[in-house]
């Protein structure tokens, strides 16, 4: 049984490394290394965003949480898709037009302040590590289920392949790898699902027991109404603040293309996210144990014989594609920020930074309490929603945002959200209202962050950046117009 699964894992790893190696020949300059020289077509770009975005939390975690907690968890994939609608209308085109590679670049361009830039860099690194840690933990868990090896072995395997790939290829190869990974993940969930639905039909379409409370919304947790709304806020607003998503917008040729790419992304994600809920539903109907590995175990439970074995191998391959793609994207972003803002820059610094970017979350994965992968990723979304969401939204649409306001808002929102995350992961699980407020912090940290940013900006009107009018021209006018957009450029390494 495990032989086919191990073969599948090896195959995915090999394909990732080979496609990455294919891209190496094309990446020569620093600009290639970071953003693929902007020669990526919209469908490739959208597939790459999808491939990068669909992590272990989407592939394994959602189905696991739905199986455990029921209908309220359906909001998780809805928010992870809908976040792109919010990103599309508020951020996509102006962000591309800003010309920024990264979130710290945007902060510097808009607020003309190195202090805001540095604080943004710290937050990018923290969000990136918080997102990477559960990916590695999850890889360890799946690898243990297949081979019986200790959890660190799977983490090490994924961390190693990611580091090698990022070190050798840079962003150019990553774009191809990511696009390939999206379609692999879609296939790896869809094909077993089709077989399982046939099996389910032939079993006489078993449904829920009458009066089964599992399928009802607002049920199963301590404060379901608060937690549902907080989850919605974190996922819808957090998407725009994820470092590995934003860097991809730079690979669009202009703002209009950035919008269209986002539309394609939304479609690709919508197609994918139809499936995890069905896995969760079938898992409940067939009484599977509540765990992140339900997606891996379910096909073998419903379909027997060599076909079932093949399907299990396929979902395993998909899971490893998920570990590799998201981890690679995050590693590139985190390493880019560390290299540019902490080390002195250049391709050599990028290599050192890559090792750091992988090593820290790998160590954390071994040390931290193991929570469901989608829960931890949800916390990363909450931190992004309470820090970068207000910075981006106010920065793009509100001229009176000041340097002091941005700093105070990032510190208050990001700081409180990070504190809640640390308390939840290290000291948790807590019970009662305190537990709910800490486990789903977005509902209070996002308003705090927005309020602090606005109030402090209004109190410090003298610190509105001097070039704000020119920046607004740059952010909002279509590229076809011949106007002066200022001379800010992201720093070339």
């Amino acid at each position: 049984m495990p032989v086919s699964q191990i073969a599948a894992v090896v195959l995915v790893m090999l394909a990732t490394v080979l496609i990455g190696a294919f891209g190496i020949r094309m990446s020569r300059t620093t600009s290639d290394f970071y953003v693929a020289s902007r020669t990526v077509s919209p469908l490739w770009n959208a597939s790459a965003i999808g491939g990068e975005y669909l992590s272990a939390a989407s592939f394994l975690g959602i189905a696991g949480l739905i199986l455990t907690f029921g209908a309220d968890m359906l909001w998780l994939p809805v928010g992870w898709t809908g976040g792109y609608l919010v990103l599309l209308v508020l951020v996509s085109a102006p962000l591309r037009r800003s010309g920024a590679y990264t979130l710290p670049d945007f902060a510097e361009a808009r607020l003309e302040s190195m202090a805001v830039r540095r604080l943004s860099s710290v937050l990018v690194v923290l969000i990136g590590w918080l997102y990477l840690m559960p990916q590695f933990q999850s890889a360890g868990l799946v690898f243990r289920t297949i081979t019986g090896a200790p959890p660190w072995a799977g983490s090490l395997l994924v961390a190693g392949v990611v580091a090698t790939n990022v070190l050798s290829g840079g962003m150019r190869s990553i774009t191809f790898v990511q696009a390939f990974q999206y379609w692999l993940k879609l296939t790896a969930l869809a094909v077993p699902l089709a077989f399982m639905l046939v099996a389910w039909w032939s079993h006489g379409r078993p449904g829920l027991a009458p009066g089964d409370a599992w399928a009802l919304p607002l049920h199963g947790r301590e404060h379901p109404v608060y937690e549902t709304y907080s989850l919605i806020l974190a996922t819808f607003l957090g998407t725009m603040g994820l470092p590995h998503v934003l860097v991809r917008f730079y690979t669009n040729p202009d703002g209009r293309a950035a919008r269209r790419t986002t539309l394609v992304v939304l479609t690709l994600l919508g197609a994918f996210y139809l499936m995890p809920a069905v896995y969760g539903y079938l898992g409940h109907v067939y009484g599977m144990p509540q765990s992140d590995t339900v997606v891996i175990a379910l096909p073998g439970r419903l379909v027997s014989g060599p076909v079932g074995e093949f399907l299990t191998a396929l979902v395993t391959a998909g899971a490893f594609a998920a570990f590799l793609s998201t981890s690679s994207g995050l590693t590139v972003s985190v390493a880019g920020v560390i290299a540019q803002d902490i080390l002195r820059g250049g391709v050599r610094a990028f290599r050192v930074a890559t090792v750091l970017a992988v090593l820290v979350p790998f160590a954390l994965a071994g040390a931290a309490r193991s929570l469901p992968v989608a829960t931890v990723v949800g916390l990363a979304f909450a931190v992004a929603a309470s820090s970068f969401c207000p910075l981006l939204v106010l920065g793009i649409w509100w001229r009176r945002l000041t340097t002091a306001g941005a700093l105070a808002g990032l510190l208050a929102g990001g700081g409180l959200a990070c504190a809640a995350v640390v308390v939840t992961i290290i000291g948790g699980p807590h019970t009662g209202w305190a537990g709910s407020l800490l486990a789903e912090p977005a509902a209070w940290t996002v308003p705090v962050s927005f309020t602090v940013m606005v109030v402090v900006s209004l109190l410090t009107p003298s610190r509105v950046p001097r070039g704000v009018a020119r920046t607004m021209v740059r952010l909002h006018t279509p590229e076809t117009l011949n106007v002066d957009r200022g001379d800010w450029r992201p720093r070339v390494m």
């Binding site: 209908a71 809908g82 792109y84 209308v89 009802l216 919304p217 607002l218 919605i232 539309l263 939304l266």
Partner: protein, 144 residues
């Protein structure tokens, strides 16, 4: 950029510069009233007003940002009503939680199915309108 009288002058200058205009060929001169040229276009193109950050340029820029922001706010409000309204609906009308549609629980049909095409449809309409706003702005600024 230039008006017709100036084009005539430019033609003349080029003729001189080449220095090979046959003597017998009469030089072409366009005769127009200065008033028609004045009515034809403003003194500066509007992009220059924006570049120089004059009050007029600012008015145009603010109108663009406001139009796009209103559109974004409209989409976000609509989204908030749908997404924020669903849990409220389930809270206030508990019988909906257990309702069924085509043999499947209603909350599942909405949250695990119908909401996705709705999101894509909303995004498509937004992209269309946002591009239209930008085209209108470009036409306005570049009108000649």
């Amino acid at each position: 950029m230039t008006g017709k009288p100036r084009r005539a002058a430019a033609t003349g200058a080029r003729g001189q510069g080449e220095g090979a205009a046959p003597a017998g060929k009469p030089r072409r001169v366009t005769v127009t009233s200065p008033r028609t040229a004045a009515a034809r276009r403003p003194r500066h193109p509007l992009t220059r007003e924006i570049d120089e950050q004059t009050r007029l340029g600012e008015v145009y820029m603010r109108s663009l940002v406001r139009t796009q922001f209103r559109l974004a706010l409209f989409v976000c409000t609509l989204l908030a009503c749908v997404v924020g309204g669903l849990p409220l609906l389930f809270l206030l009308a508990p019988e909906l939680r257990a309702a069924e549609l085509a043999g499947l629980p209603l909350p599942w049909v909405v949250l695990a199915g119908l909401i996705y095409p709705a999101l894509v449809g909303g995004a498509w309409l937004y992209v269309r309108q946002a591009e239209r706003n930008e085209r209108d702005f470009a036409d306005l600024v570049e009108r000649r």
